[in-house]
């Protein structure tokens, strides 16, 4: 049961700032977990969704299990964050989605005052046969860029299962972001990684999305949309390995540079092991497309306004 406290109010406020609705953290119909620094401030289970949490000296361990066949009607809300200027939050998590279950997670990670904060996430996700899991993670950071965000996610999508994962960090400056996602995609399964990041100041952004298409007819998409502004440096590695017959994988990377001192690189890596697999990639790096900008300028926007519209749209 959620117990309201000052800590909870603080993180709920930050949760709202990141786009979440704090009321959903109190909704008894929705499963939820709230972790501030290394304190579990709230936890709510609903039939079919079991959440086990354990505080550790530097963070928390969480195990979330969705029973086979459960159709979870409302999103499961997860809230992580560090409110003070400094601190470490190490989250170790496991997600087990039972056969035929269907669930959506909405995670918000908030670091509004961070000047020296380290947030790590070590997640293991298992999506059972014919199960569907959507995981959407939105970050909210303050302007100082004093955070290290290091999520490592290892996913197994079993036969006929679907995982759609979205990572979004577009509010505030992060500092250092190192996303490392890896998917083991089995027969007839689908795995999609989608990362959207707006790098500012001296941010250092690294996104690695790897798909191992190990089952016949497996499908994978590694998508990234990165904007590097000011002095930000970004690197994207999109990888797909076709290990099975009729596997299909696509790597789709767009990086936009805003500012003379920003840098961006993209490294697509496609490996076909089974000659019946097919992998494709597309990558575009550069400034905002001139035609897009001038089209909006022809509707009366200034150049800066037009660039902002293009960038905001791409990062949605």
């Amino acid at each position: 049961m959620i117990q309201l406290s000052h800590d909870f109010e603080e993180i709920a406020e930050a949760y709202e700032a990141s786009g979440g609705q704090a009321s959903s953290l109190l909704d008894k119909q929705s499963a939820s977990l709230v972790v501030s620094h290394n304190k579990i401030l709230g936890k709510n289970e609903i039939p079919g969704v079991r959440i086990e949490g354990e505080e550790t000296p530097t963070g928390a361990k969480a195990s979330i299990t969705v029973a086979p066949g459960t159709i979870v009607q409302k999103p499961v809300h997860l809230c992580f964050g560090v409110i003070p200027k400094d601190g470490i939050q190490e989250i170790i998590s496991e997600f087990n989605i039972g056969e035929g279950a269907r669930v959506t997670f909405q995670a918000h990670c908030t670091f509004p005052n961070a000047e020296k904060v380290k947030h790590t996430m070590d997640a293991r996700i298992y999506v059972g046969k014919n199960a569907e899991m959507t995981y959407s993670e939105t970050h909210f950071h303050g302007p100082s860029g004093g955070t290290e965000v290091l999520p490592v996610v290892r996913v197994t999508v079993d036969e006929g299962g679907v995982l759609k994962n979205e990572f979004k960090l577009v509010q505030g400056a992060v500092g250092r972001l190192q996303v490392d996602y890896e998917g083991d995609v089995r027969k007839d399964a689908v795995c999609e990684f989608d990362a959207r990041v707006y790098g500012k100041g001296d941010d250092r952004i690294s996104v690695k999305e790897s798909l191992f298409l190990n089952g016949e007819n497996a499908r994978g998409l590694a998508k990234s949309r990165i904007v590097s502004s000011e002095r930000c440096q970004s690197e994207v590695i999109g990888e797909a390995v076709g290990n099975a017959p009729f596997a299909r994988g696509h790597v789709d990377c767009v990086e936009i540079i805003k500012g003379r001192d920003a840098r961006a690189s993209a490294i697509p890596r496609l490996v076909v092991v089974d000659d019946r697999a097919k992998l494709t990639h597309e990558a575009a790096i550069g400034s905002v497309d001139k035609k897009q900008v001038e089209t909006l300028m022809a509707r009366g926007l200034t150049e800066d306004e037009a660039v902002d519209v293009v960038v905001r749209g791409m990062l949605r």
Partner: protein, 250 residues
């Protein structure tokens, strides 16, 4: 309204526009007829002031103001806009948002996004929340582009081949939208190489070799275009004898 005086443009050492003179009247549909490669889209880019098309000789005067040196957004705020032949795509931007952008600097009593879509024959419920991205067909995107120009209620709408890539059943909507512009007091510069489309214009000009060869009644200009320009081998290399041809009425 719009006056182009002795306009010239050199791109990569090549004369693209040459001694081009054109004057449009308030609220008229003015067709620009020309074969592929004669400089029609370049002319549109020059009038709008797109990057790479600003280093012109001569002058562009709009409602008595010399706008030759103004950037695109300033020209747009004075009421000049364009529907591109191949419009840009925008990831994450909905049709409703795209049409609303045009309304920010719209003239009097702008049409709502819903009304604009209906004018171009698209069902608002099916399109308002869709993204202006690659999921739209070429024809859908072009009609949304027209709707976007409608939403702005401009004084001068440059329509660069609005009929290309549109299916036969939808062409009537495009024609009707062009007439709507004119009814609302918008001057339309209608760029096309289809003489049947140019015939809906009040007046037309034939663009050949980077200059205007003839201006007048659209049927007569279309006939001139058919007889003199469609087979013209001198694309962007204007020759003096052609300009001095007695049959040409400027």
């Amino acid at each position: 309204m719009l006056q182009l005086k002795n306009l010239g443009l050199v791109l990569n050492g090549k004369q693209i526009l040459y001694n081009l003179n054109l004057e449009t009247r308030h609220g008229e549909i003015h067709g620009i007829l020309g074969a592929n490669g004669t400089g029609k889209s370049t002319l549109a880019s020059v009038i709008l002031g797109l990057s790479g098309y600003r280093e012109v000789t001569g002058s562009i005067v709009f409602n008595g103001e010399n706008i030759t040196d103004l950037p695109v957004s300033q020209r747009a705020r004075r009421g000049i806009t364009m529907a591109w032949q191949e419009p840009a795509r925008f990831e994450g931007l909905s049709v409703a948002e795209y049409l609303s952008i045009g309304q920010r600097h719209a003239g009097n009593v702008p049409l709502s996004p819903r009304e604009c879509l209906m004018k171009v024959g698209l069902t608002p419920e099916n399109y308002l929340m869709r993204a202006v991205d690659t999921t739209l067909s070429g024809g859908e995107r072009k009609r949304i582009e027209l709707a976007s120009v409608l939403a702005m209620r401009p004084k001068l709408a440059i329509l660069d081949e609005p009929d290309s890539g549109i299916d036969a059943l939808s062409i009537d909507y495009v024609v009707e939208v062009i007439k709507t512009f004119s009814r609302n007091g918008t001057t339309v510069l209608l760029i096309t190489h289809h003489e049947e489309v140019a015939e809906i214009a009040d007046r037309a000009s034939s663009l050949c070799g980077g200059t205007i060869l003839k201006t007048g009644d659209p049927v007569a200009v279309a006939r001139f275009f058919r007889n003199h320009c469609q087979e013209c081998q001198h694309v962007n290399i204007p020759e003096k004898e052609e300009q001095n041809n007695d049959s040409i009425v400027a």
